[in-house]
Amino acid sequence: MLFNSLTFLVFFAIVLALHNAPFPWRMKKFNLLIASYLFYAAWSPPFVILLWISTAVDWKVAQWIHRSDDTARRRFILILSMATNLGILGYFKYGGFLLENFTVTMAAMGVNYQAPDWNIILPVGISFYTFQTMAYSLDVYLKRAEPAKSLLDFSLFVTFFPQLVAGPIVRPSQLVPQFATPKKATPPQFYWGLGLITIGMFEKIVLADSFLAPAADGAFGAAGALAPLDAWTGVLAFSGQIFFDFSGYSTIAIGTALCLGFALPNNFLYPYAAIGFSDFWRRWHISLSTWLRDYLYIPIGGNKRGRIRTYVNLMITMLLGGLWHGASWTFVIWGGLHGLYLSVERMLREAIPEQNWFRSLWFKIAMALVTYFLINITWVFFRAQSFDQAMTMLASMAGIAVEPEKVLYLNEIVPAAIIIAGMVATHWYLRMRSMEDVIAAAPKWLIGVIWTFMLFMLMITQGSDSAFIYFQF
């Protein structure tokens, strides 16, 4: 079910009541597990079977790997696990894409291949929980961790509802041990958790859905070329929409878990104040970027095999990172651009010696704005429905499009401009601070006013139950 729905509020109230009832810890974990399955089944009950397959396969595989000292056997078992996980992911997520490209390739070779219809529904969040269970088997294979001792704890790790469908992608070492001993939120944790849920809901329902989506959808929904103001508004609005949508989800997930007494890691740290792209990826979708770093970039050699190989590894990692988001060439280009940015940044760092003025405020602000500008270029490919549309949008942004049209009204442009300016300024302010510190130092009346404002806005906005963008990944 969606966080931004009445169903979830009722569901969460029941889960909280059960979690705080005087039951044994084991029974509370069962409650959480059943609640998590219900949470997932609320989209489509049959897809719960995928969670069971992932759980069963990786539970067994990790045990077999752990028991065996034979390298070849361990590797074979790991491949079995990877094949199962990636096979499920590939079938549901990439089958249609592969078929479509196969058909195009055949046509290019003069073979008229008629592909069968591919009407497979993508199970929500499949990329997230697949990566999470793969991390578990890989950690055991790489001897970074021992297998979980309890099937119940492991099942809950795979299925824990707050972060099941859109992360953060948690490592087993972070979450499984938390299930070992009874957990219950202290009153401050509980209320702060509710505060985080409010912030996350506000980001999603009020900022992303109500005031940024209209501008982004209006611009990217247009048939032809746009006037530069419309194109820029649409792209900047999307940069805000996707941040508030996804960061909102992560914040709700963290708050929800905290209300139950569990700690989830951050997924975002004010990414639009990043100076450079390695900085950006330490701030944007942190749980995915670190996953790719630990399980893909480093295993293929990272930066330990020479300069050229480092660039190649960066490119491979980011291209696959792009493909993780969806079965489309526009996502591949998005990843490719990020790979290119990271490689060029690395090259420049090596070529240009550190200067004193690099540390000046104006230079940092200029570099942050350049970074944000280049990030927005990547968002064009991420949001566009096709390569052609992306190129048209880029031409529109550059003011060189043919027959540009105005499609956005001031009603969309003004709110988007205010929110984007506020977002970038806030990211900059919090760049080297933590929100907890800022709140700890803020006047009580101000916290009360802001909390009331967010609650009131949520109540009157009501939410349209629109899905989170990252649910499709």
């Binding site: 079910m1 729905s5 009445l6 169903t7 979830f8 609320a42 953060p168 490592r171 070492s173 972070q174 041990p177 401050p188 944790q189 209320y191 702060w192 505060g195 985080l196 912030i199 980001e203 859905d209 005031f211 209209p214 960061s247 905290l258 700690a263 890691p265 951050n266 975002f268 740290l269 004010y270 900085d279 330490r282 701030r283 942190i286 749980s287 670190t290 105005k406 009204y409 001031l410 009603n411 806030t426 080297m432 601070r433 933590s434 929100m435 907890e436 709140i439 700890a440 009580k444 916290i447 009360g448 909390w451 009331t452 609650l455 009131f456 806005m457 109540m459 009157i460 906005t461 139950d465």
Partner: protein, 371 residues
């Protein structure tokens, strides 16, 4: 905004380098803040609710969602009587009056701005349905196939369990509060705010709120459209904005548009006929109705879809009976608020007059076929 993992010093996240995730809680009197914020929010909400009640909105007005339609669609089984079509049959038929007149309460499945074709096809494909379908014909929609809410059928089929549950919960709020209407949302208010137009752009002309809808989709025109002259004019302007260009394209009697319209009309009549046959083969029936219109709609409907080429042809080729408001004195003289829909009281009176005529026609047709 996401929070940081550290409350002591600024740091960039290296969360996976630590096995233990810490979530510091800012030291504040959270319980008191939470209670005060909730009380303040409730106070603001009371004011908000009273404001909207003083401005035309009422509790018990349900949003015309896919889930609401899906709920009614699930009732359309067996020998049920079902109304389909677009907004005219939605606004102009009162289900209570219909039920009081003939003892049968119809199921309202009409969708605004949408040709009846997708819903008819859905009913035709449903082996469990063998009832009566009353098809409201709004010519520019029926004979063009335009389906503003055409996705509803597929969405209803794929409705997720949580959506169904959410719909039931949301309805409980809609019963009690007026502020739940979509027109009261900040997003809607900003969308329609009277900001200056950018050079070369035309005024926004999307249809605005026109109806009050009950839990079973029994629908009447919103009192503001009837009683607020400025809002009523706005509604007309919106229709004019969509109909005007169509009329412009038909000024020349030799325009190729006429040929295209005729071709499309014939195609749609044939497709409707195929679906009608499926329903009749199972023992059901399909009849047609033409609800009142005037003003600009009179112009466009008479010009683009003359009776002999559209309505009469439809009845003849599908071997159906139909009630056209122009054929009966009892169905004329009602107050059509904005050229297309009747005011609530007129809709009741119209239904009271329309239903006997329809059933009499059906009885006559049945008698004729029995002879």
């Amino acid at each position: 905004m996401p929070s940081s993992t550290s409350s002591s010093k600024p740091q960039l996240a290296r969360p996976f380098d630590d096995d233990v995730v810490r979530r510091p809680v800012p030291e504040r009197p959270w319980r008191g803040l939470a209670i005060i914020s909730v009380i303040a929010t409730i106070a603001l909400m009371v004011g908000w609710e009273l404001y909207w009640r003083a401005n035309w909105h009422i509790p018990g007005d349900f949003k015309n969602t896919t889930s609401l339609w899906a709920e009614q669609r699930r009732n359309a089984k067996g020998d049920a009587t079902v109304l389909i079509g677009s907004s005219r049959i939605l606004f102009d038929t009162d289900l209570n009056v219909w039920e009081n007149t003939v003892g049968v309460r119809p199921i309202q499945l009409a969708l605004e701005g949408t040709s009846p074709q997708p819903v008819l096809a859905d009913l035709a494909a449903d082996e469990e349905f063998n009832g009566l379908v009353v098809v409201g014909v709004t010519a520019p929609l029926t004979f063009s196939g335009y389906a503003y809410r055409g996705d509803v059928i597929e969405e209803a089929r794929n409705e997720a369990p949580f959506e169904r549950a959410g719909h039931v919960l949301w309805m409980q709020l809609e019963k009690l509060f007026a502020y739940t209407d979509e027109a009261t949302r900040p997003k809607t208010m900003v969308f329609y705010a009277g900001l200056p137009l950018r050079e070369g752009m035309r005024r926004r002309m999307e249809p605005r709120k026109l109806e009050i809808m009950n839990a079973d989709r029994n629908t009447e025109m919103w009192s503001r459209v009837v009683d607020d002259p400025a809002y009523q004019q706005l509604a007309r302007d919106v229709w004019g904005n969509s109909v005007g260009p169509m009329l412009e394209g038909l000024k020349d009697p030799n325009s190729p548009a006429y040929g295209a319209i005729a071709e499309q009309t014939n195609k749609i009549i044939a497709e409707l006929g195929a679906d009608i046959e499926k329903i009749r083969a199972r023992g059901g029936d399909v009849v047609f109705a033409r609800m009142p219109y005037d003003g600009l709609y009179e112009e466009i409907e008479e010009k683009a879809f003359p009776r002999e080429k559209a309505w009469d042809k439809l009845l003849a080729e599908t071997n159906s009976i139909g009630v056209h408001f122009k054929d009966y004195e009892a169905l004329q003289g009602f107050y059509i608020v904005e050229w297309s829909h009747l005011a609530p009281r007129d809709a009741e009176a119209f239904t009271a007059a329309f239903v006997p005529i329809l059933y009499e026609q059906m009885d006559t047709a049945t008698g004729a076929s029995a002879d």
